[in-house]
Every structure is written in C-alpha cells, then in structure tokens.
Symmetry: C2
Amino acid sequence: MATAAKVEPQRVDRFEERRRELADAALVTLSELGYARTSLREIAQNSAFSHGVLHYYFRDKVDLITYCVRQYKAACVLRYDRIVATARTPEGLAQGFADGLVATLVEDARMHRLWYDLRSQALFEESFRADVLDIDATLERMIDRIVGRYGELRDRPAPAPSAMTYALFDGLFQQALLRHFAGSPTAADDLRARVLGLLDRLFPP
Amino acid sequence: MATAAKVEPQRVDRFEERRRELADAALVTLSELGYARTSLREIAQNSAFSHGVLHYYFRDKVDLITYCVRQYKAACVLRYDRIVATARTPEGLAQGFADGLVATLVEDARMHRLWYDLRSQALFEESFRADVLDIDATLERMIDRIVGRYGELRDRPAPAPSAMTYALFDGLFQQALLRHFAGSPTAADDLRARVLGLLDRLFPP
DNA sequence: AGTGGACCTTGACGACTGTCAAGGACTTCC
DNA sequence: GGAAGTCCTTGACAGTCGTCAAGGTCCACT
C-alpha cells in the first residue's frame, strides 16, 4: 500500500528514536546509582516521561537494560579507532592510546563503573551474559587493532592473543577507575605510565 | 570482679562466633545470588535461624555485608603464601602460582564473582569502599610477594610497581572467570598459559 | 524456686519494587 | 467532524524489602 510504505517506516523510526531517548535517560540513572539500586520509577523520573511509558517501549526491565547495554557499546569504541587511523609513528600511537584511556577515565568514569557493574552482574544473571560477552569481544577487538597497529609501526608481529592483551589493559584500567573514585590524585598519571610501560613490555627491544 | 572476668570474654566469644557463623551463611547466599538480589530473609533462610536474628547481631544490612567482606578476605590469601614458602626454583614457583590461580578459578569461582560484584559496588556506594580497598591492597601485597620471590629466585629486581603487577594478573583472572561462567572449556588452561606468559614478559631473558 | 538476662522467633510496619490495565490526550486519516 | 490509532499518564495490584518491637524460650545464678 502507498500509505503503509510511507507511514510504517516513519512509525518505526519514531518508535526506535523514543527507545534510544529512554535508554539514554536510563543510562544516566544507571551510571549514577548502579544496577542494584536503579528502579524503573527512578529512570522515568530522570526523563521527560512517567514510569508507565517504559513498558510501552520495553517488554520488561531486562529488555530495557539489555537495550541500554547495547547502546552503550556503540558509543564506546569510537574514540579509539580514530586514534589508530591518525597515528603515523609508534610513539604517537602509544601516546594517543594512553591519553585516550586517561581521558576516558576522567570523562566517562561514571559510565565505565556501570560497565564493570553490569559485567559483574553477567557473572550471576544469565540474561545479561550474551550482551556482555558481545561488548567484551568488541572491546577486545578494539584493543587488538591498537596493539596490532602499534606492532605494524614497529615491524613486529602480535605479541600475544588478543584476549590476553585485552585482559591486561582492562586490568590496568579497572584499577585506575577504582583509585579514581577513591579520590587518588595520581590515578590518571599512573594509568598513563602503566599503559606505556605495558606496551613496552609487550614489544621488548 | 571474678564473675565478670570469667563471663565477659565468654559472652564476647559466643557473640563473635555467631557473627562469623551468620556471615558464613550470608557469604554462601551472596555468592549464589549476587549483591543485588540477596535479601536478609534469603540469607536467614539459608542459615539455621530466622530473619530477625540478623538485626540482633548486625546493626543493619551494610554492617552485615561489610563484616562478610572482611571475613572473606581472611580466607583469600592463605593458599598462595604457602606456595611462596615452599617453592625452591623459579619454574616451580611459576607453576605453583599458575596452578593455584587455576584451582581458585575452578573451586572458588562463586566466591570470586562475589568479590568482583562487591568491588563494583564500591564504585557506587561509599560505605563499602574502605573495606574493598583494604582487601584489594591485601591481594596486591600477596601478588607482590609472589612476583618478588620469583624475581629473587631468578636474581632480578621487581619489574614494576606492585599495583601494576596486581592489576595485570587481576585482569587475566577476571577474564578467565567470565569465560568460565560462560561455559568456555579452555578458560582454565588459557589462564594458566597466560599467567606463565605474563611472568615471562615481566622478567624477559 | 524464681529471677534476670541472653538469645531467638514471630508478626507487623511503611516503603518500594516490576508490572499492567484503564483511560485520557493528541494526531492522522476518511 | 468523527473514527481509528498512537502515545502517554494514572492508579492500582501483588510482592518484596529492611527494620523493629513484642514476646517467647532457655539457661545461669542466687
């Protein structure tokens, strides 16, 4: 039908747009309170709508949070691929990578504590596990692109499986995040130094 | 008084003993359900007592969980210090360390997912932060003793700040834990290989 | 024997949760 | 202009939560 072809996609777009809008609001609340203490009413209160609307756009709470996690992923990887694309020397890439992590630590601290919270939840609730593993794999590939490119610039092969490299950098970042929230003033600088140090160790002279 | 000197310590002991007993039961439930879904009634149901008794021995829920976290710490470090004490060669220490981590991964998986859960909570709730940081420091020192001893056996100085070494091994372990719960059959073997690989990189030839 | 205190259970409270049905407001189309 | 459908609000539901007070039971001591 002529009308269906015109109306349908528009409706879907508006529907999807609202979902994204609500998920954005939910992410703000979630990153503020954490998974355990975030209620649907609290999410709605930090949005322009009332609590009932959440069940109009999402099947249930798990559906909403799963959608949020997916949305979070999309915004997560963008920063670093630009660094990879623009770097011309290994030193420049290393600096850009370390600075990027530090910037993430400072600017997106709340969002990342939510990520670690949800990843911990995935250890208990199976409903989150698939999405969490998917995001984790995306982050792993991102780290792998950076480390791989760094190796290229220094004419070296990949030093270790990507899962291992990812785990190492993730460990550094997570510790820095904890220290950051604990009020340590050196958390950011320590992170930068350790990221550069780890890169050195992965590609010894 | 003669009676006070005899009765007081006994009462304190019984009181402390019950607290430990209840904390043990709480840890079982917590490691099963995670922080977000564990209620005081559920804890009591998995113990020999009713839910009201928890407020006889603990001020409130935070007091209980804080006590649990402290108790968890004590049991946490024992395994590895024995490994350090008995190892005579660097290869033996490395093997013992890697095997110990793998054993922890398999046997104490539930307990350790609780640890990561609570550490994530500490990023949100300030009431947990002090205890979590304390446990984290204890684990860091444990890793430092292992790596330091390994360096001794190979006549090398410490390769990095203990906080960095701890973060790296913790990253490896946490990834292995996620894979373990996701059902990956190679999680344990991968962890072993990566721990040994990381030790090698920390002390390059 | 009986009294005081430690220990534990029971039941209730107000608050909060996810979920959903009923219905109003508003737009779109015939 | 009225009908249909979209979008959102409101209010209620059945549970569950942490907390606490009232009151038991049991033991030790006088």
